[in-house]
Subunit: 342 residues, 3 copies
């Protein structure tokens, strides 16, 4: 059970209520009157909990689970332990997300400006805004309704933040417009000076960075990630992008909708990621490229050329995933052959 | 045009004034009475703006640009659209940097200590210092003239900061001396404990880290980068070094003048980077090495040995760039050959 | 000598006192009445200082050192310059750590809550706690004896912190329990939302992250590192783990005792690192794996499969270190051969 110091359980819920949160084709198999008091993992769940199976790796845990109920795809339903009630759905992880949100909706901080916060007189705060202890909102900033600004965050001069967005503790926003319902984690830096200068032995000379960062709606930015403002054009992050921790986005980057950037990846300046590009952890994309929709890059890999739609790449420089594993195998075999000869 | 919420345009400027900012050999071709109201990129510029062409990739944009004026090298001048006024120079990017700085000089924050900041009574602030909301200056710190300390920054006990340096929001300085005219971005950590301990199964034992960080003049440190203090000797960053976001500099590292470290790169402990070393994004240098002047390391590459002056390296372990691309091609060919045989 | 602005020297110490800090088999060779006024590196030490030799690379510096005394292994004792007093021990680095700690014990901040800090009325602070300027302790937090919370740090609702732990400036703790005697560096983020969502073209959907982060005792977390809370299970960091700067630990990760994670490395979600695993700088471990005790991964390498006890790995995907260097050599040779033929 989630620690009540941190999470408030809104349950119990009848299985029929929970079914209503799954997709249209879902159905209950087993006890139609089952009542779930909590969500839990397959190994931790007890007879009053509802769990989920989403990853083939955990089928054996599923077969042994003591969960009273489970969200599961049809292909695994037959392997359920006796007596387990099932919500059978084609999208068990999505159904679990909705059900877990029902049990544990995001906590809302009460609204109001903390006595130790500083909000400049020229800043405009809509209704329901919460400004935490020692947070700062500078001149001319415009903060939308129900925005939550956590302790020690700094909202710079002129910045705008859309409705319902959450700004994590000790983060810094400057030279940017942030959309609605975004989740900016602690320690994020948005709108910082891009890495632009004329390189010279007589002294590197800064080029003013005159653009902004424009963040769409429903964007998540992970802890301590950094997004530089544009050099002239803006840096743009599209609606629904998910950015993990410690990610670097360079100046003038343009990201379409729904891109997913896993931890410690980086996108160099002036590159465009079109819709639904996925970059694995610790991967990188060089500057001035166009990455086509649906491109997927494996972790620890690096793209040096523009890509075709739906490309699946790995390695450095990145090549098609299958080719990467073929090359890996060939090099191992050649080395092995040579050792045997020696 | 740069967003007036964030940037103040000091224009217009006569083309002859702007020419005075370029290098000595530069000249105007076209309308000597042209007046520029703003700077803008080739694609965004209109007939009253001045733009620049610095990268061969953008020649086609140049040929179609509606910019009234453009800063350009002689070799491209012939391809300018009819009627465009040109500032012809051998160093167009540097001229653009100076001209853009004239239009948009760095905004100076007014001086003074914000009412919510804390400055210890024993700290010494020179004239013109600005301390932002909820910033902290601890005992014995010495802050030079015109230093700008932004919201939530923390300047530790005894730290000194040189004239005209800017300290970004929510950054932390401890055990360090920072030079003049530096730009420390938000979230930077300088002077943190180096990663030094005796490793043992009975418990790792910390070795006190008794050095400092000494930052030269005109150093830039990007957002959320970290520079550990020395173990005994100091960690030293030379004049004019440019460090991008999320970079790690280990204890006892010594960097000469003008080094450029791109985002997410790292330098391990006790390594020396001599003058004008360039490390690409996500690259790394192992510890206890000497990297000769002018060494350039490609992105996503790793140096494991000391280098020769002017070396151009790639791969992991890094080898000469040409050799790296040859090896990449050979492995692809061998794999291809083998596939055909199968 | 360590800069007195930052460090207080508690010396001098008699060599016999210092000998008492080394391991049982250690002994003095030379002047049994030597008195050391400071610790210093081999190159910087003078006749009143004690230094140490731990790395074969520095034997030539040892032979030329002006140090009055030195901590050294028996095998190098014969090469000492004439007149140098020696503490001979099988573990010179560990002896140096203890001796340097005697000269320079960690400075204790005076206790008390700074006038500009905010501590919620429902938070509980044990004796000797120090809360720095503009730091924040939210509702229900429990802070153990002698904890030091530095300027601008944010301790979230319900968080607990064990005795004697140090929390660096501008760091953020939420949804976590931190053990005793930990050292959390500036800018660290603990307990942030894990990167969990159902990915879909109709919009990625967040999965509530209902676990915590549980940090053991004597854990060090480097500057700007991030540790996400669990998705349901907790993220657990075992006693005595050492985590360097800019490291990413994903949700549900479990680390045993004494693991060492060098700067910019990452562990993906749901992976277990068993006791004394060492990850080199900029390395990574994929998700859902079990990394056996004592596994060592070279810098800039990536593990994609579970490992055997004591494995020593390098490359991406990681293979045994020796095999990695063999493959590197074979590829170089094949490329060379082919060039000669061309």
């Amino acid at each position: 059970m989630a620690d009540p110091r941190f999470f408030n359980n809104k349950g119990p819920f009848e299985v029929q209520q929970l079914l209503g949160l799954a997709d249209d084709g879902a159905f209950v198999r087993g006890d139609n009157n089952f009542k779930a008091v909590d969500v839990a993992s397959l190994t931790e769940a007890g007879p009053q909990d509802i769990s989920f199976l989403d990853n083939r790796k955990y089928v054996s845990a599923f077969k042994k689970s003591a969960a009273g109920a489970c969200i599961v795809a049809l292909e695994f339903a037959e392997r359920a332990p006796a007596g387990m009630t099932l919500i059978v759905t084609s999208r068990p992880y999505r159904a679990y997300a909705r059900i877990a949100q029902a049990f544990y909706p995001s906590a809302q901080r009460g609204s109001g400006v903390h006595s130790t916060a500083f909000v400049d007189a020229s800043a405009v705060l809509a209704g329901g805004v919460s400004v935490g202890a020692n947070a700062v909102v500078e001149s001319g900033a415009r903060i939308g309704a129900d925005v939550e600004i956590n302790a020690g965050a700094s909202i710079g001069r002129g910045v705008s933040v859309g409705t319902g967005t959450r700004i994590g503790s000790n983060s810094s926003l400057e030279f940017c417009d942030v959309g609605a319902r975004c989740d900016i984690h602690p320690g994020v830096r948005i709108g910082t000076r891009g890495f632009g200068f004329d390189m010279s032995a007589e002294g590197h000379l800064n080029v003013p960075q005159l653009g902004r960062v424009i963040l769409g709606n429903d964007v998540e930015v992970g802890a301590n990630s950094t997004i530089d403002r544009g050099a002239g054009p803006d840096t743009v992050i599209g609606d629904g992008c998910k950015i993990d921790n410690l990610v670097q986005i360079g100046h003038n980057v343009r990201m379409g909708q729904g891109c997913v950037i896993v931890a410690q990846a980086a996108v160099a300046g002036s590159t465009e990621l079109q819709d639904f590009v996925v970059l694995g952890g610790q991967s990188g994309v060089a500057g001035h490229l166009t990455i086509a929709p649906g491109t997927q890059l494996a972790g620890r890999s690096g793209i040096m050329r523009s890509t075709e739609m739906g490309a699946k790449l790995a390695g450095n420089p990145a090549i098609p995933v299958k080719e990467f594993f073929r090359q890996t195998a060939v090099l191992a075999k050649l080395t092995n052959d040579r050792n045997r000869k020696d």
